[in-house]
Structure formats: C-alpha cells, structure tokens
Subunit: 288 residues, 2 copies
C-alpha cells in the first residue's frame, strides 16, 4: 500500500504543472491542494482493480491520478466558506486560507480540467472507444448525478434529520460515485470479463458506503489531531450522519456488514482480488 | 445566425438534466445558468468551422454544447462574490443571487463535468482517437494554461497597470483559449487538411483577442441596459482593459486590425469560410 502511495506522490508531482510556470500562484495552489496528503484511497483502489485486470502500471498511474485530481478539486471547493467553511485539511490550512478564496476556486476548477486532460492525452486502453467510455464514467461520477449532486443533497440536508434511505442516497452520490469510478477506471486499463466487472462494481458500492459510515464514526470518535481535519464538525453543523441516524453502535455494525458484503463480492474472484480485500479491511478498520 | 442560436437553445435544453430530476435545485440552477441567454458566440463559431469541414449537424450540436457549457460554468464562477462579485448577467440576477453561493459553485462544477460527459458519450469523429484529441483540446483550453489560468492572471492584475503584452497574454488565456477551442472542436467534427486547420487557428486567435478588445470598448461605452450586465465595472474595479492601456480610439483601431487579420487568414479558404467571416464582423461590430 505504501508503495502505491509514494509512487502516486511522484506521479502527481510530475503531472501537475510546475509552480515555476505562469500563473505561478495558481499552479502552486493546485500542487498544495494535491501533494503531500491524503490516504490516496482512490488511487489504491484503481491500482488494486487494475492489477486484477492485468493493466499496465503506466496506464494505472494516469487513471489513478485523474481520479485523485477530481477528489482533490472537490475537497478544495468543499472547504470554501460558502460550503463547509473549513480551515484545516490533512493537518494543513485549507487552500483558501493558505492562498485566498478566488485562487482556491480557480485551483479547484483547474484540477477538474486537468483530470480530463490526462484522460484524453494518455493511452489508457487498447481500444480508444473504451477510453472514451472511461471519460464518460469519470464525468458522470463527478457531475450532478454523482459527486456534485451528492454535495448539493448534503447542503440541502443540513439542519434537518434524514431517514436512512435518504442519507444512503446522498452518500452513494457524494462519496460512492467517485470510489466506484476509481475501481472502474482501474480495471478498464486492462482486460476483464463483464461478470467480473459486475462483481467489482458490487464491491465498490459496498466499500463506497462503508467509507462514509466509518468517516461518520471517526468524526464522532476521534480527535482533530488524529484526523488532520476538524473533528465533530458534522454534528455541530447539524449535518445528518450515520451516527445521528442510527447511533454509534449500529453505525459500527453497519460498517462491518458492508465490509462483509465487499468480501462476498470478491470471493468468486479468488486470490487475484486479495489486494482489494485488504483495502476493504483498511477502509473499515482505519483509525483516521 | 439566428437559426444556430435557436437550435442551440433546444439542444442545451435537451442535454441538461431536467429540473424535475434530483437534486432538483442544482439542475434548476444549471439550466438557469445556461438557457435563455448569451450571444452563443462559441457555438456559432463551432458551427461555422464545422460547416467548412463538412461536419454532420448532430456532431456539431454536441461539440458546440460542450463549449457553451464550459463557458457558462466559467461565468457562474466568475460572478461569485470571491471573484467579480457581480449581481447581473444577461439581464438577470446571477446564479448565486438567484439561488445561493454554494449552489452556484456546485452548478458551475456540474456544468464543467457535463461538458466532458458529452464529449465522451457521443460520437464526434470517425476516429475515436481524434475524439480523444478533442477532449484534450477542450481540457487544455479550460484549465490552468487556458481559461482558468487567464482568470488567475486577471485577479492578480487588478489594481495595477498592465503593459500591453501582459494584457494580451491574459486575454489569450482568459477568452482566447476557449474561442480557439470552439473553432477547433467545430472543424474536428469533420475533415479538413492540416494547412487549413492552421489558417482557422490563426483566424480564431485574432477574433479571440478582438472579442475582448470590443468587450472593453463596450464596457466603457455602452449602458448596463444594453449590455445586460453591469457596465463600466472593469474600470471601477481597477481592472486593466484595452481602453485603459491604449485609450478608446486606439482600442477601436486595434479591434479593426484584428478583424482584418481574421479575414486575411480566411481569404485562401474562399467561399466556404463566408460564415466565419461574417462572425468576425459580428464580433467586432456588435453593440452589446
């Protein structure tokens, strides 16, 4: 896992525009938002799914970088004062605090474009038509019927209690869509049968939700220092969480059930899916 | 010209997610930001360039819509309080005034993703590899070395006088990149020789700059009612403009010179370039 993480640091550093190129402040902010931080869960998933489909490492690097850039852009925008208004991310001041709001807005926008630039300019699949399909997958996952839509649902949910199905729908969009895209982009860099794709998609759906359930549990449980971001903020902001919807103990059980579901989806794939199984464990058992 | 504009209204209305689909408020805001407004200069350019390369109308509709969505997203973000803080656009309240800042931010983000979704999911070129190249073109035009980069240069220029070359560099990024992409995406939907592509690119560069020079002249000259956006704002905000850099009379001459250059680039293409020539005239001679 550490090897993918350190590899991705180098890949992202190489693919992001250098801070020496104009407009320097924007490029600096893009690098600040992306480098030296994060668990790189989405790249890890893309690599593990790609290993299973026999994908070449150079392709996986690009696909994983594109997903991570979309994730990084979403965090920059999400932290802005008009959204979550957060000052701390990955143990550092958020981009608009370190730079300014306008630069943060544009850095997010430019990271968003850069992700699609990478997906357009590098060879990621034997068949270019399959690569166009990957671009569509990513755009759908990021857009109004994916991540951005989930953030809107989140906005609208603040201050009112959500029923569990509504909460689940929100997270399927907000976090789940990009996690599924990470797995799909990863295996699409190689070759894999349609039934196997469906199993991986079921796995990705389960861990996408598990990821959010665990986030909510940790937000309630852990300290700001451990998380590297402001702890306990969701409940103070009146945001519905799994913990507020079902209590801490049942939220923990729910995460466990989703972990079991993810493993069940992988089971027919045998030893080739070992790494994906380990990632399911990492996502649910992590302490930060 | 009117026929492309009304056709695009229908195309965009069909391609944008319906306001009845959840998250409804986000989809409403995306439609509000895009429909019933604007001169549709970029779609007009894409259609005119595509006519020259014998491109099919269905392809041009998608390419033109994608460029217009990128343009619309950039206006929504540009109007936000942390950027230009504008309350009026196309004669209507800006998106963050009509909705709220967070919804405007997300609507811009979702329009941005939707543009790439369209470019990935519809057939736009005979060769899918050429379509990947179109996606790269669009991403570069929108990103930190294109439009978003130009906006950053604009931010940093506010309140200090710019030399003409710096001003030009800013506008080549801020407005020019997307106008060039509109022309390139348009002709890429059909077939055209490499030397002809270069002529069209020279044309697009000239009108991209002319567009901005004329904008600056109009901002200084016209009334808010005619423009449908706040007039005289740039100079009040201390933004460098062609008028502040070279005076009104010389700015007008500069626009004329760029129009002549655009026509010169088209000249070898003969009658097939008639519409592009008309658009150069429209861009420079417009009163709004």
């Amino acid at each position: 896992m550490g090897s993918v993480q350190s590899r991705m640091e180098g890949v992202l550093a190489r693919l992001l525009p250098p801070a020496s190129v104009a407009p320097a402040r924007l490029h600096e902010a893009m690098r600040y938002a992306t480098l030296e931080g994060g668990k790189r869960v989405r790249p890890l998933l893309a690599f593990a799914a790609g290993e299973l489909s026999g994908a070449a490492t150079q392709r996986l690097e690009i696909a994983a970088a594109a997903v991570e850039l979309i994730h990084a852009y979403s965090l920059v925008h999400d932290d802005l004062p008009c959204m979550d208004d957060d000052v701390l991310r990955r143990g550092k001041p958020t981009v608009h605090v370190e730079y300014d709001e306008a630069t943060a807005l544009l850095a997010g926008d430019a990271l968003h474009s850069l992700a699609f630039q990478l997906l357009g300019e590098h060879r990621l699949a034997d068949d270019p038509q399959a690569q166009l399909e990957m671009i569509r997958t990513m755009a759908l996952a990021a857009g109004s019927r994916g991540m951005a839509g989930g953030q809107q649902m989140d906005l609208e949910a603040t201050g009112r209690p959500l029923e569990l199905p509504e909460l689940e729908l929100m997270h399927i969009h907000k976090t789940g869509a990009l996690i599924r895209a990470a797995v799909r982009l990863g295996f699409s860099c190689g070759r894999i049968s349609e039934p196997e794709q469906q199993k991986l998609d079921r796995y990705a759906k389960a861990i996408g939700l598990a990821f959010q359930v665990v986030d909510d549990v940790l937000d309630c449980d852990a300290s700001t220092a451990t998380l590297g971001k402001t702890a306990g903020k969701d409940s103070r902001q009146g945001k519905p969480t799994y913990v507020s919807a079902m209590g801490l103990a049942r939220a923990r059980e729910h995460a466990e059930a989703l972990r079991a579901e993810a493993h069940a989806a992988l089971q027919p794939l045998g030893a080739r899916a070992r790494r994906l199984g380990e990632l399911a464990d990492f996502i649910v058992l992590r302490k930060f």
